[in-house]
């Protein structure tokens, strides 16, 4: 076989791998969008972030190892881009959030009702808009973990890999993030008793 044939075959194989990679990545775009939407405050920002993620992914597709977790690989690009963006925008400095205990939100709902809550779905006392607003107020280190695990359904292990932090940090941030979210939500949607 001539060198030209070998080279031709190599190029054809690479083109085939590339097409497959791009198709596989595009199939995950709904999930990537869902995470992006949780990480930023508007749909427009989420769309930009997802587009940048795919541009970068398609450019650097060779650095993906076939057979490994493509969803985690894409989201690692996305979370890194999001951190860069946050730095560029120099959003409000990350302060240590106030943190209440886990029963706080329920207790506040009950206090505000003035009597024990008897309905089946107490959660429906909260407005979905307030939930979205409360999430956007969670500092981004905490928010990243919350969005990946509780909205994107990633395991602790995957979240640790995506964010490049130890698994113990994922767990501690997640626990704090959930408390901070409830605290933010209580401030938004429950009248002080």
């Amino acid at each position: 076989m001539s060198d030209t044939d070998t080279e031709g075959r190599r190029i054809a194989n690479e083109a085939r791998d590339r097409v497959r990679f791009e198709e596989d990545a595009l199939e995950l775009s709904d999930q990537v969008f869902r995470v992006a939407r949780g990480l930023v405050n508007s749909r427009e920002e989420a769309e930009d972030l997802v587009q940048q993620t795919y541009e970068r992914a398609f450019r650097s597709w060779r650095s993906f190892t076939p057979g490994t977790n493509l969803r985690a690989w894409l989201l690692r690009i996305l979370t890194n881009l999001n951190i860069d963006r946050a730095r560029r925008d120099q959003r409000r400095p990350q302060t240590q959030p106030m943190e209440e205990t886990d029963y706080f939100l329920y207790n506040r709902l009950e206090q505000s009702a003035g009597e024990p809550l008897e309905e089946d779905r107490v959660v429906e006392r909260l407005s979905q808009d307030d939930v979205v607003g409360a999430l956007s107020a969670v500092p981004h280190d905490f928010r990243d973990v919350l969005v990946l695990v509780d909205i994107g359904d990633f395991s602790y292990q995957d979240a640790a890999q995506i964010l490049d932090i130890p698994i113990g940090t994922v767990m501690s941030r997640l626990h704090r993030a959930r408390r901070v979210l409830k605290q933010e939500l209580a401030e938004r949607s429950v009248e002080a008793p």
């Binding site: 083109a15 791009e22 749909r43 769309e47 795919y54 205990t101 886990d102 029963y103 939930v131 909205i151």
Partner: protein, 75 residues
């Protein structure tokens, strides 16, 4: 520690299924006899689902098209 305070302390790991068998049994024993804590556990469980629904938005079709256009053109 007060049993309700302890229960609150371990609510998240319990719902994440990361407690040991003994710890889990101890929580369930308390929940069986404490409506105050069990209401709060049920609320937390519903709350997690509610957050997921509230914060999930479908990808706009226009974005799907834009992403498809980023593919390498076939020769």
């Amino acid at each position: 520690m007060d049993p309700c305070d302890h229960c609150e302390e371990v609510m998240q790991p319990y719902l994440d299924r990361s407690l040991s068998v003994e710890e889990k049994q101890a929580v369930e024993l308390h929940l069986d006899e404490c409506p105050w804590c069990s209401k709060r556990f049920r609320f937390e469980q519903e709350f997690r689902g509610y957050v997921r629904v509230a914060c999930t938005e479908e990808m706009p079709p226009s974005l799907r098209e834009k992403l498809a256009a980023l593919r390498t053109p076939l020769l």
